[in-house]
C-alpha cells in the first residue's frame, strides 16, 4: 500500500439486480471498481445507468445481490466497529446526478460552506475545490444568476469537498464546454492518483481513456 495514497477503498459488486416500477432493469451485474481506477458507464437512454449509479450510492434499493466496499490490502473490519462516518457504500461514495444539487437563491460561496459542514470536516478543501473547477469568476454570484455550465461546475465542486473515495457520476459533462470537460477529466485522473475510484456515466464527452462497463438494452423482440 503506497504512502502517497489518500484512499484505498474499492467497490465490489456481485450479482446486483435492480427493479423500478415492478420492472427489472438489470440483473446479475458483477464487477469490481478498484481503488485508483475509473470505469466509464455506457449504454443507451433507458438502459439503467442512473438506476445502477443510484443503487451503488445507496440511494435506491437493490433487488438482489451485493455491492460492498473493501479495503485494498487492509484487514476486513466489521462495519459497526468502524468509527463514523462508516466506510460502507453510502459513507464512502458521493453521487452527482442530473440535477446540480444547487439552490438558485444561494451564492457559490454559501454552497461550498454548506457542503463543507454537511460532509463534516471538509472546510480546508473549499479552496482546492474552487481552484479545481475555476469557480473564482462567479463564486460570489447567486446560483440563479449563473449559466448552466457554471452551476454544473459548482455542483461538482462538492466531490472535492466531500473527500469521499468513490465518485459516482451521472453525465457530469452535461452543459459543460470542452474546457470544463477537460478540467473534470484531469480532476478525475488526479483523484485516481490519490487512490480514489470513479464510475462515470457518459456519452463520450469526457476526454478520458478508461475501461467501460456497458449496459445493453435488450432488443424489443427479446423482451418477451
Amino acid at each position: 500500500m503506497s504512502e502517497s495514497r489518500r484512499h484505498n477503498l474499492g467497490l465490489r459488486v456481485e450479482g446486483l439486480a435492480a427493479a423500478r416500477g415492478g420492472r427489472v432493469i438489470f440483473e446479475s451485474a458483477s464487477f469490481v471498481l478498484e481503488p485508483g481506477a475509473t470505469l466509464l458507464l455506457k449504454g443507451p437512454n433507458g438502459a439503467g445507468k442512473t438506476t445502477l449509479l443510484r443503487t451503488l450510492a445507496g440511494l435506491a434499493p437493490a433487488a438482489r445481490g451485493t455491492a460492498e466496499t473493501y479495503l485494498d490490502g487492509g484487514p476486513r473490519l466489521r462495519l459497526d466497529e468502524l468509527p463514523a462516518p462508516r466506510p460502507d457504500r453510502r459513507a464512502a461514495s458521493i453521487y452527482a446526478g442530473h440535477a446540480d444539487g444547487v439552490k438558485a437563491s444561494m451564492t457559490g460561496v454559501e454552497h461550498l460552506r454548506f457542503w463543507a459542514r454537511l460532509y463534516e470536516g471538509g472546510a480546508d478543501r473549499i479552496e482546492i475545490a474552487a481552484g479545481a473547477f475555476d469557480l473564482a469568476p462567479f463564486v460570489h454570484l447567486r446560483a440563479g444568476a449563473m449559466s448552466a455550465g457554471q452551476r454544473r461546475r459548482l455542483g461538482l465542486a462538492r466531490l472535492v469537498i466531500s473527500g469521499k473515495p468513490i465518485w459516482l457520476l451521472d453525465e457530469p459533462t452535461a452543459a459543460m464546454d470542452a474546457v470544463a470537460a477537460a478540467r473534470l477529466a484531469a480532476l478525475i485522473l488526479a483523484h485516481n492518483a490519490e487512490g480514489g475510484a470513479a464510475l462515470v456515466a457518459t456519452h463520450d464527452k469526457l476526454p478520458i481513456e478508461a475501461p467501460a462497463l456497458i449496459l445493453d438494452a435488450r432488443p424489443p423482440a427479446e423482451t418477451q
Binding site: D80, A84, R86
Partner: protein, 150 residues
C-alpha cells in the same frame, strides 16, 4: 463514536422522548376534569365563564317550567352538589324529560341563567323492552339515572 454507539445513543434518545411524552400525559390526566362543565364545576368558578360553554347534568325533577305562550322553557340542570338554571327557546329532543341526562350549549345571561342555544338529550347505555323496564321497576331493581351523566 462508532456506529453501534451512535445507534445506542439514538435509541436512548427515542426512549427518553417517549417517556417524557408519557409522563406529560399521565400528569395531565391526573389533573384533568371533564371537558364540559358540570354544575359543581361552575359553582367552583369565581365568575361564570364569558364565552359559549357546554353544561352537562341531569334535569332536576319538577324544575321544568314553560312560559305561558310556550315559547320558552326554563329548567334546572344539577348534579349531586350544585345546580345551574337554564333558559331555552326552541324544540326539545324526544328524550328530554325530568331526571334524564342533558347537554346544554349556550352562554350565561346577566341574570346568571345559562341561555341555551342548543339542548341535547344524553341517553344512557341501557336498552330493554318496555315490559322488562316495568318488571325491573316492580321488583325494585330499577336504577333510575344511575349511570346517566357520569
Amino acid at each position: 463514536m462508532t456506529r453501534k454507539q451512535q445507534r445506542t445513543a439514538l435509541i436512548g434518545a427515542v426512549f427518553t422522548v417517549a417517556a417524557l411524552a408519557v409522563g406529560l400525559t399521565l400528569t395531565a390526566l391526573g389533573r384533568s376534569v371533564a371537558y364540559f362543565y358540570s354544575p359543581s364545576d361552575l359553582a367552583a368558578l369565581a365568575a361564570p365563564p364569558s364565552g359559549t360553554i357546554r353544561l352537562g347534568g341531569l334535569v332536576e325533577p319538577g324544575s321544568i317550567l314553560y312560559t305561558d305562550d310556550k315559547a320558552e322553557v326554563r329548567f334546572v340542570v344539577r348534579d349531586e352538589i350544585a345546580s345551574t338554571p337554564v333558559v331555552y327557546a326552541g324544540i326539545l329532543p324526544d328524550l328530554f324529560s325530568e331526571g334524564e341526562g342533558v347537554v346544554v350549549e349556550g352562554r350565561f345571561g346577566p341574570d346568571g341563567r345559562l341561555r341555551a342555544a342548543q339542548v341535547l338529550a344524553k341517553h344512557d347505555e341501557n336498552y330493554m323492552p318496555r315490559e322488562v323496564a316495568e318488571a325491573l321497576k316492580k321488583q325494585g331493581r330499577w336504577k333510575e339515572g344511575e349511570r346517566v351523566g357520569e
